[in-house]
Symmetry: C2
Subunit: 355 residues, 2 copies
DNA sequence: CTGAAAGCGCTAACAC
DNA sequence: GTGTTAGCGCTTTCAG
């Protein structure tokens, strides 16, 4: 088409005004005569000019209008997690009206990959959102700090210069565990989310338990132990998805010292455990109680309804969006901890008589 | 912290070299003495400079490194569709290594919203990907053309200056319908994806049928009719999700002239129909056959396996990524139509004797 | 191998 | 109301 993209200068020349005036015609801010504006816009239309080049505008303003969202996982896994998706939805809902766009940044996939996605070093973004916690000494947070990118940390341990949004998962987990204890269970196993980027799978030994670097995993596990339970097994999964829960369930429920209750760190994991139990011919909750965390709506588990701890997902997304807006305004948002709520379903019941 | 962000010029001054030399130290391209480079990098580290400001670089290069992905739906819905998610995953997989990031752009939500998301007018992007077809006279494509943004259209009708990636859904639908016909069915209903931004729900009358603006919906419906079937009912849904399929199923299967087979335009819709059938006490496929489209893995439908037309989702994502790369290289990628494959499951069977 | 200079396209003071 | 001017931070010729 054109050898040279048409610029605001071309439009201004064509309309017989200065560039700054032409700029005003588009930005709307600042005083400009209606007649002048429409003359500029007409010239623009005639030249096929679709509005100011965002790149020039961004450099000048020092703002890209982009919020980098670091998913807690490779995108393929992240998108399979309704928790991530619903939070993301709540977030985009508040960001959109602010004229901010979401740039997806994959989280760690496997240890063979670099620890931080290259986009994190090179992409333009005004604010970053680190979804899903973060690890101790997180290389992502370190990178962000080096770049001077204001950051919202979701489900992480509060840090000096980082905004925080989270839920009371520790408290929720205590409550959930107490519910299970109240039903008389003593042989209680727990299925956790990944410990670290290594993503091992299986029963965790004490050494491994001492080195959980995923903060959210550690905090939820602490909820179980702080409720006074020493799990018969702490089963680590490589990802918080149904199939990982199913694998955990198969393993735990085939043991000679089969637990009478399994407390899981997510609903997806828990529903996998329920499926595994059914598969093994065990009745839930008569033979084994299963509890999850998140409060998802899982219609395909019907007729069962998972006992779980509900977290306000859309509100969490909105809270993140508000924190982003605060940071952009140069303010420091207060850390927010959203409440959770124990929701008793049909998958937990009294300890079996014989056990 | 600093009143002024440190720039490449600061680093250069501190290292005692010119800005252009400092630039070379970071970009790597171009000749530079090792000693000089390390001196620059040391100075950068000392000043807490994390690398060139992307905004400056982008303006200079005329490239943002951003690919805008226009989801076919409001994000909240889009992310609930495994088809969209898996394609997106395949896409990011090929884009990542190219140093390109994905900016999420919501598609139309409901008619009360503006037809094109504001991001589309204002965000910087080198290429746009319009997922999930497009409508006739799509305002999105028009906007993109006006802005001069090279575009990849997924599942849309090929256009002069737009790259296209799609699947042979028309052919797949014909094959699927023929399979159903071969089983002896004559009372065949079909459940479609939305017709347009209005997102009506219910049996479509001839007037409405004549005005389907969602191209993908029209093409798949044409597959059914081109196989020689006149559906007893064409049921339009407001979104391609399980609950919409369930609603359709309840309605269609409660009619006096209950169809013996229901061909759906997506697996999500089809699985909703299967659930509705079970709910109504109908056996699939003994009482009613149900077929879908996409070839998703739907374990929770077990023990049923949906009869469907499988499309290569990850490959589709990769093909889109390749088209993006071509456009960025200034070339015009050939339109690509990926093959689909009929996959017969357990949800279709012979027409019931009495019917 | 290194430096000087030009300019990507735009906006925001500031002067008129 | 409108024009002039000065950069935003960087990369890339082009000389040296």
């Amino acid at each position: 088409m054109s050898a040279q993209r048409t610029t605001l200068a071309d439009v201004a020349a064509s309309a017989g005004v200065s560039v700054s005036t032409a700029s005003l015609a588009f930005s709307g801010s600042g005083p400009i005569a209606d007649a002048t504006r429409s003359r500029v816009l007409a010239a623009a239309r005639a030249l096929g000019y679709a509005g100011p080049n965002p790149l020039g505008r961004q450099l000048r303003r020092g703002r890209s209008g982009i919020v980098g969202v670091i998913m807690g996982d490779a995108l393929r896994r992240a998108f399979r997690d309704p928790v991530a998706v619903q939070v993301l939805d709540g977030l985009t809902g508040t960001l959109g009206p602010l004229g901010l766009g979401v740039l997806l940044i994959p989280g760690p996939d496997d240890p063979s990959q670099p620890a931080v996605d290259p986009l994190l070093e090179s992409a333009a973004m005004d604010v970053a959102v680190q979804m899903w916690g973060g690890t101790t000494d997180d290389p992502v947070l370190e990178m962000l700090r080096r770049r001077g990118t204001p950051t919202v940390l979701v489900e992480g341990t509060p840090q000096p210069d980082v905004a925080a949004v989270g839920i009371d998962d520790h408290g929720g987990m205590i409550e959930l565990t107490q519910h299970v204890l109240g039903l008389g269970h003593t042989r209680i196993a727990t299925v956790t989310m990944p410990f670290d980027r290594d993503r091992s799978e299986g029963a965790a030994d004490p050494v491994r338990l001492a080195g959980i670097s995923w903060e959210i995993t550690r905090r939820r596990l602490a909820g179980v132990t702080d409720a006074g339970v020493t799990p018969t097994v702490v089963w680590e999964t490589p990802a918080s998805l149904v199939e990982n829960g199913a694998a955990a369930g198969r393993a735990l429920l085939s043991r000679p010292d089969r637990p009478t209750a399994i407390v899981c760190q997510s609903d997806l994991l828990a529903s996998g455990v329920v499926l595994a139990a059914r598969e093994l011919g065990l009745r839930v909750p008569q033979d084994v109680s299963v509890a999850g965390f998140d409060g998802l709506d899982l219609p395909w588990l019907a007729p069962d309804v998972l006992t779980s701890v509900a977290q306000p997902l859309a509100e969490k997304g909105a809270a993140i969006g508000e924190a982003v807006a605060e940071l952009l305004a140069g303010r420091t948002p207060e850390p927010r901890v959203l409440p959770v709520q124990l929701r008793i379903g049909t998958t937990t019941g009294p300890v079996p008589p014989g056990a």
